[in-house]
């Protein structure tokens, strides 16, 4: 009996090992297909943005394959993506990343949606030395861990509102005299945004006259706004996700707050231009990408062409979210890196990714030693009286001071 079970164990172990080996070899490059892996949020709280991301990946894969795919050592390979739904829970994401790498033999990863999910998955891909190009995790803290295999095409969160401080400085004859009011939520993302803003403020030597932290259950920020009215700052900077933007817009209206410049994150997500059309006039809102951007590449064309092509494939979008655009850019980075490395070896590929330097429809891409993209700026848009978002490239493009008739 004992003898038999030992035999069975060895036999089954051999089967598992051989399956594992062939499975791995098949998944990485199977015939003429290179398989990338991604755990993405298709259900749960990030489902909407997870879907935007997946569509961005799929669209890029389609365009690249139609244009002849990826050329490695003179042979053309097609791209494919293997997805798992991580249900918007970090623990599940980490589990699935391990499954992609160990069971499915994936050796190249595309990122999940959100900083939190990326934080959960990055240690896994790092452990196995699998390069991951992500497009949706902006938190600065992702790039201070010393990860070698993590690369992000998007701008990190500390850049979200820093441009607003530049604009405020340019609009004032003496930047040192500019008074700033800050209202930030205490979560990691908003604190990152605040750190970037504080760096700029210190650089110019501006004065922070209000520095309030907002609670997570953010339904009332009237005390902060009362102080804003009393102290009359030159700029009011707010970050607290969609709920922060909605609460701020509502109460700025109700309390007739008249600050020459108001900048906040998540205007589009909170739809402030629709819900508070009168007040939101003149709000400055950061975005990762705009379809009117004057950048282009040979694969997707200009930003406008990518936008048109994507809309054609997914006609349900009236306005394409930047999440999809950056997802496409991440896939494009893989194509470039495979061709530059001219190899399927994941370490050679990692070095090739870190050396990537290119212009794309999404903006310039060049990674720092920490893995974040340092070539692309954040873009600032301003809402006008009709509720349209207009790109503000320099301080003179901006309507200043903000004109509102309460």
């Amino acid at each position: 009996m004992k003898h038999f079970s030992l035999k069975a164990t060895i036999a089954s172990a051999a089967v598992v090992v051989s399956m594992g080996v062939t499975g791995a070899a098949m998944a990485r490059v199977d015939g003429d297909t290179i398989t990338l892996g991604s755990s993405i949020s298709l259900t749960g709280k990030y489902a909407t943005n997870g879907l935007h991301t997946q569509r961005g990946y799929d669209y890029a894969v389609k365009v690249i394959n139609e244009a002849g795919g990826v050329k490695v050592s003179g042979k053309s390979y097609k791209l494919a993506v293997k997805y798992y739904d991580d249900e918007s829970t970090p623990a599940r994401g980490a589990q699935l990343a391990e499954r992609l790498i160990q069971q499915d033999g994936v050796e190249y990863m595309l990122g999940p949606y959100s900083s939190g999910m990326t934080k959960a998955i990055a240690p896994v891909s790092e452990k196995f030395g699998v390069p991951m190009v992500e497009a949706e995790g902006a938190s600065r803290s992702l790039f201070t861990q010393g990860y070698k295999y993590l690369f992000a095409v998007l701008s990190t969160s500390e850049q979200y509102l820093a441009t607003a401080i530049d604009f405020a400085a340019e609009k004032s004859p003496d930047p040192k005299s500019v008074k700033i009011a800050l209202a930030f939520e205490g979560d990691p993302f908003s604190m990152d945004v605040r750190a970037g803003v504080m760096d700029k403020i210190n650089e110019y030597g501006m004065k922070v006259i209000i520095d309030d932290q907002l609670p997570a259950d953010l339904s009332d920020m009237s005390t902060t706004l009362t102080k804003v009215k009393a102290l009359k700052p030159d700029a009011l900077i707010i970050s607290g996700h969609s709920k922060g933007a909605a609460t701020a817009a509502r109460q700025i209206d109700e309390m007739k707050v008249n600050v020459p410049m108001i900048a906040m994150t998540h205007c589009e997500a909170a739809k402030v231009q629709e819900k508070f059309p009168k007040t939101s006039n003149g709000f400055l809102c950061p975005t990762q990408w705009v379809e009117t951007l004057s950048k282009s590449d040979p694969m997707f064309g200009s930003a406008a062409e990518w936008n048109a092509g994507f809309k054609e494939d997914y006609p349900s979008y009236t306005s394409v979210p930047y999440q999809s655009a950056q997802a496409s850019a991440a896939v494009y980075v893989f194509k470039k890196a495979f061709e530059a490395a001219n190899s399927f070896d994941k370490d050679k590929l990692r070095d090739a990714i870190s050396a990537v330097e290119m212009e794309t429809f999404y903006g310039d891409i060049k990674f720092s030693a920490q893995g974040n993209n340092i070539a692309k700026p954040m873009f600032m848009r301003q809402i006008d009286a009709s509720g349209t978002y207009n790109l503000v490239e320099k301080a003179d493009d901006m309507a200043y001071p903000r004109k509102v008739a309460y």
Binding site: P215, S219, T226, K227, R250, K256, Y406
Partner: protein, 301 residues
Amino acid sequence: MWDNLQLLFVWAPIINVQIILDGIFVGAVFALSAYGLALVWGVMNIKNLAQGDFVIMGGYLAFALHQLQVPLVLILLIVMPLMFIFGWIIYIVMIRRILDQDMFVSLLATFGLSLLLQQVINLIFGPEVQTIDMEMPVYDAFDNMVTVPSSKIITLVLAALIAVAVVVFMKRSRAGQAIRATAQDPRAARVLGIDIDRVYAFTFAFNAALCGAAGVLVSIIWVIQPFYGITYSVRSFAIVTAAGLGNLPAVIGAGFGIGLFEKYTGTILGTAYEVAAPVTILLLVLIYRQFQMRRNRQVVR
């Protein structure tokens, strides 16, 4: 903090007016939901952790009706009966079964109800922040330093009307008398022919209706989100602990007190501490009571 104190008392004392007004508006809404909690707690000894979620549910009902272009007064008249029926159903399905159990069962059961309500609201309306924008004029004074939106004035008036109606109802009507009698001594009330089960059901449903009314007002003057209920639960508990059970004037007083305390804490220490303010009051009251009760405490041998 020092700057903020100077701002309050030296540079721009006029903003005190704004803070006091805001505190009063806030307090009025808190008092409504807290009174419902005091009733349920006092009459049937149920500590309803889903109190805040009833408020948010009322808010979302109001939001849905507002989408259908229903006028404000009608919204209130529709939401209150709807919440009353909802409260009655919850009583029959759940509360009745936990009445004789110990405190932890009632806490756990209502906590479960709270989670359930949050998720259902989230499924139906989504996690976005919503608000009813009545687009009514905003009055300002003192060179725009003090602003009072008419929506808040209407809210205050409505809250006052509801409070008066509740007082009259509890004093004069048979149902109100039955509730008070049951709260004092359920057994004696039963002997005198009061149907205790019906009184309990009515009390719980009445509480839900009051929360619904508070929710309508909240959705008009602030914003609502499926997971915001907890802050209203915490405030209700703080107010009831400070005011005692079944004492409406004390509840209203404590509501205004906590409203003002919150606003001043927010101004001096920053908005993040506003939510901590009622919890601090809760703690102080409990510590004070602990000392107060000490002399009555005897060792049981």
